[in-house]
Symmetry: C2
């Protein structure tokens, strides 16, 4: 792959990744659905923070419909975006700095806003129609770690040292 | 891809995935290192449960060295294993039912055992030497959800409804 081709691919992947979060921000279910790979032989998978794995367009898109129905406001500030390309697959990692609010319960326009720190691994496949999401895995960052610090209480610990 | 080729690929990917967890269980750092992609143009990425993203062999392998140094005992019971193949990339999702223990502090052989429910998305690339890990993203399952239930308190909520 030439340097130019790689730069072009990276720009297209970043645009697809941005479109994914913008569809969430605007609650645009149609755009969001179109961004996910049309699976069949290659099922799509999705993990929302703290959730089990969802597999296939039915399960995954249903989860987004429910999420959108329960969200009045959401904004993603993406940082630490990195793209790793290999052939027709692209791996994107980023930090999702999220500000969101659910529906208010007392007649106010918006419920309380909540800030969250989440990291995501998004896998994209190249298709004739552009890059499409094959997998999204997002998880909460549960505490500060040193740059490559290890947990004190086990290898796959949920609580890295604060 | 013929059905036979696909079955052969899936078997090889599953074997690589099993080898990854076995290397963790036996604390075999050399085997673990060999299973990760030799990155360069395509950096490897890793998210341990609750951690931020680690990128590149230096950061990723250092984290495993630290984890192994702090782990006296660990066993993974893998369930819900699914493989999605596209070209030279394979996506594996599984539930890691983990039982682990750190070093004891009072002269006993083993610290208290801790059980954890973690889900993982593991991305593999086909290389001349076999399938190698490109990305590992593991995250804690923080509560029970209905099969495709949505969180009550926000779209990327860390706490799905119990």
């Amino acid at each position: 792959m030439s340097r130019t081709d790689r730069a072009t691919d990276e720009a297209a992947v970043e645009a697809a990744n941005t479109a994914f979060y913008e569809a969430m921000e605007t609650g645009d279910f149609e755009s969001l659905s179109a961004l996910w790979l049309d699976d069949g032989a290659t099922p799509i998978t999705c993990v929302h923070p703290g959730w089990p794995v969802l597999t296939g367009r039915g399960e995954v898109l249903r989860s987004y419909a429910l999420i959108m129905a329960n969200t009045e406001y959401i904004q993603f500030f993406l940082t630490d975006l990195r793209i790793s390309l290999a052939g027709d697959t692209a791996l994107v990692t980023c930090t999702e700095n999220i500000l969101s609010g659910g529906p208010a319960e007392d007649g106010a326009e918006l419920g309380p806003l909540v800030g969250q720190l989440v990291v995501a691994t998004n896998v994209f496949r190249r298709t004739p129609a552009g890059w499409r999401i094959w997998s999204h895995h997002a998880s909460p960052v549960l505490g500060d770690t040193e740059e490559t610090g290890g947990p004190e209480d086990g290898p796959e610990a949920s609580n890295p040292p604060a």
